[in-house]
């Protein structure tokens, strides 16, 4: 029953949502609206799992004083500080600031803009360096296929470089590459992805795929 009942729940809810698309009646829409709303409430509680997990993992390392535990303490302090200024006390707004803590200029949002945003954007911008390094070390025209890839990449990259008289031809060619061969390949990929997603979804709804339930 510990496995059969959840499979029955998936089946009933999945089939209802699939059929509701074809039968847009008011009662069905009413149930659908509540179902979606309930999923969001479940999800809100579920996301607490992630926070708990993060705190637990870092706190254990701090308690045991494993090498680098200071950094784990920084993680916990960062999280606690955000929770405090967002929910409990903002130096500018006082205690329990409510939704006002999310407006520009508060400590909560300043932490977001001047601590979270710079670090996160720089971490992603490092990829620009890595891509140049990877292009230098690994991008070799060893085979015809690799050469096709290389030439296409260079044509697309040349779009951003003014080349005088050749610019117009290059822009046209780059645009043609995007709207004809690239579009054709991506379309085939999307169709394959779509069929795969539908197959997987049907397997889950029909109870054939049960890996999401974990082990007993």
């Amino acid at each position: 029953m510990r496995r059969q009942l959840p499979i029955l729940v998936v089946f009933i809810s999945g089939i209802f949502m699939a059929i509701q698309y074809f039968v847009p009646s008011e009662p069905a829409e009413f149930v659908q609206e509540y179902a979606m709303d309930w999923v969001i409430v479940i999800g809100v509680f579920a996301m607490g799992l992630g926070l708990w997990s993060l705190t637990k993992v870092n706190w254990i390392k701090v308690q045991r004083q494993t090498p680098g535990w200071g950094y784990n303490l920084v993680t916990i302090l960062g999280m606690v500080f955000m929770l405090v200024v967002g929910l409990i006390w903002d130096p500018g707004l006082g205690f329990f600031p409510g939704e006002k803590s999310q407006v520009s200029g508060t400590w909560f949002m300043n932490f977001f803009w001047y601590i979270y945003l710079p670090i996160q954007t720089v971490m992603f911008s490092l990829l620009a360096f890595y891509i140049a390094s990877a292009a230098y070390r690994a991008f070799r025209a060893r085979t015809i296929l690799a050469s096709i890839l290389l030439v296409t990449a260079i044509v697309i990259m040349l779009r951003l470089i003014p080349l005088g008289a050749v610019s117009g031809i290059n822009q046209w060619l780059a645009n043609w590459i995007l709207i004809v061969p690239n579009m054709a390949a991506k379309r085939a990929i999307w169709m394959g992805v779509g069929l795969g997603m539908v197959a997987m979804a049907l397997k889950i709804v029909l109870g054939i795929e049960r890996s999401y339930m974990g082990r007993d």
């Binding site: 829409e29 979606m36 407006v103 520009s104 140049a132 070390r137 025209a141 991506k186």
Partner: protein
Amino acid sequence: MGFYEKLMSLDRRWVYLCVAIAVVLPFLLEEFGVPIFIPPYITPEVKSVYNFVEKLREDDVLFLAIDYDPMAKAELHPVARAVLKQCFKKNVKVIISALSQNGPGMAEQLISQTAKEYNKVDGVDYVYLGYKPFPALVIMGMSQNFKLFFPKDYYGTPLDSLPMMAKVRNIKDTKGVIDVAAGSVADMWINEGAGRYNYPLALAVTGVMAADYYPFLNSGQLFGLVSGMKGAAEYEYLMEKGGYMKKEEFDASRGMPIQMFAHIVVILFIIIGNVGYFMSRRKKS
């Protein structure tokens, strides 16, 4: 070790240094009085987004979905800002949501700054709904009834009390959706949004994602596609031509000289890498 072997085993930090110099070069040139402006080649897919907003009339309602994290700010913020400016200048009303988990604060700052520029009032000229988890369900919900998932706006004001929301019940009551997205939320707008409820949809996505959405443009599921920083620069250029922006206000276009030099460096390194590879192979054989 021969010259080509040395070339092939170059420390990656020299490559990083060259990229760093390429990125800083436009600013140095500007300091020395040589500013670089690259007029963009306007693509039809960007022009169709601009024309769509251009055709909207006063008091029409547009839905702008700001679905990107701060990581994609460089590429997508300029587009979101440009669309907002165009709407506010034309007195088109805008409903905005931010379904990316780290984006609501960034979206709020953009909206409040742009609204201040044009003296637009929250609740009358625009409504910022904010964030809710599970974008797929939220998109379906908003397409049926905004109040289902957003009984209040981002600032805690009940939607019922906002004058603008009196005539707008769901997304189908708006003229269309422009989704500025950096992740799978774009797919959800195509699938659960416009795909199910048949309203006009355009996407502004990052360069990495852009190539994937041309099939949707071709099939008519999207009426426009703005790709990355280049697309944003094209939109800004069209905004300047339309009298909505001045060159000094350009955001994405400021980044295009950096793009140009960085691309030159990457192309040069690819060529050098290949030359080194073939020459060292020839030497061995």
